[in-house]
């Protein structure tokens, strides 16, 4: 696991049925591109988050492929329709095989 990785998610606690809500996500990660060299001239191995997904009650909401050009601490913001109460599950996949997860439940009201 890369050091200092911490996922953060902001989802409203409640929404009206069928309402479109805005979701914000941020994960601290150095996103080493693999194209830089250290002070001795040796390439620094690539270490990035390569995939980010969100599911709502098991149904896919977004599925993003990330490439080395994406900046440090990747931030995603997107809209989602909430048909019913349930749980958002956010997953980030690291090059080194680590998987970071975060869940947020939302109520109808």
């Amino acid at each position: 696991m890369a050091s200092g990785v911490k996922p953060r998610v902001k989802v409203p606690k409640t929404a009206a049925a069928g309402e479109t809500i805005t979701i914000k996500t941020l994960i601290s990660h150095k996103m080493e591109s693999g194209q830089r060299k250290d002070s001795d001239g040796n390439p620094i191995p690539r270490s990035i988050i390569n995939r980010f997904t969100t599911e709502f009650n098991g149904e896919n909401v977004v599925d993003v492929a990330l490439e080395p050009a994406i900046s440090t601490n990747p931030y995603f913001q997107f809209d989602a329709v909430v048909p019913e109460a349930g749980e958002f599950k956010f997953t980030w996949y690291d090059d080194d095989g680590s998987v970071y997860e975060e869940t947020k439940s939302i109520k109808i009201g």
Binding site: K6, L26, S28, S71, N73, Y75
Partner: protein, 285 residues
């Protein structure tokens, strides 16, 4: 036959160019409210000791709307990643005495107001101290830990954490009494031209604020928003690191971060922003 028309067009064009230039010469009129809660003062009557300005503006007012928006919500403010990292360090014991910051200060909220009055005269030590100097004094004497590098990541993260609990409070740095000679020294530096380009701080930040410096909109160089997350290097930047960058850009040998010269300059520059809100950690270019 076409001539009058062309001339009219030329005049219209010139007028439009003037308007554009006029817009560049001023800070914008946006209001800064962080988390829909903390109302920031980004414009204030200049303190009496800032003779050559009538109004002081936070650097936030000179930034593009997109950059401004990043600072208006803690979730979107990338600096908050570093504040969270410092919050962990806050309660982690370090050094030979087994103390953490929390051992003495408990919650960081207990330091609300601290950022607003630093740099500050320390009677026991007989010197003007910056927040960084005070933190290292705590580490050395209260914790028995190694000092942090003056502009290092740990240090800047911690100043960001301490600053974050004072956000919205007006900067109120004391410049009289025992601090006065240091302040005079800082003022002297502010108006001294350095480097091959022979520029003083005042040439850009007092005479020319609002104008473009290459692709960037020159601010008044206020430090109420420090430490600052800069989009150009995606990390927190401390006041002295910024000073060093500015002096270097005049093509001069710079003073050392943490040196008496920069402490004096920080005291003077901070005092020019008395009345503006503490914004740190802010987001800038």
């Amino acid at each position: 036959m076409n001539r009058p028309q062309t001339l009219t067009r030329a005049i219209a064009f010139a007028a439009a160019a003037c308007v554009a230039a006029g817009a560049n010469a001023e800070p914008d009129t946006d209001q800064l409210v962080v988390n829909e809660e903390i109302e920031m003062i980004t414009e204030a009557a200049a303190p009496a000791h800032t003779e050559n300005l009538s109004t002081v503006y936070s650097g936030w007012r000179f930034r593009a709307d997109e950059t401004q928006a990043l600072q208006m919500d803690d979730f979107e403010n990338p600096a908050m990643i570093f504040v969270e990292a410092a919050a962990e360090v806050w309660s982690t014991a370090d050094g030979t005495k087994g103390n953490s910051c929390a051992s003495c200060h408990e919650d960081v909220e207990s330091l609300r107001g601290v950022r607003a009055v630093y740099p500050k005269w320390n009677e026991a030590a007989g010197e003007v101290r910056t927040l960084e100097m005070q933190i290292n004094d705590c580490r050395e004497n209260q914790m028995g830990a190694d000092k942090w590098k003056y502009t290092g990541g740990d240090m800047t993260n911690m100043t960001a954490l301490i600053s974050s609990v004072s956000r919205g409070m007006p900067v109120n740095v004391a410049i009289d009494g025992p601090a006065q000679s240091m302040w005079e020294q800082g003022k002297e530096l502010y108006y001294t031209r350095t480097g091959q380009l022979e520029l003083s701080c005042a040439n850009c930040h007092e005479d020319s604020y609002g104008m473009m410096i290459r692709a960037d909109h020159l601010s008044q160089g206020q430090i109420n928003g420090f430490p600052t997350y800069r989009l150009k290097n995606t990390k927190l930047n401390s006041v002295h690191a910024r000073f060093k960058g500015c002096v270097r850009d005049t093509r001069a040998e710079t003073f050392k971060p943490g040196s008496a010269d920069f402490v004096a300059l920080e005291l003077y520059v901070a005092s020019r922003g008395n009345g503006l809100s503490v914004e740190g950690p802010s987001v800038r270019n």
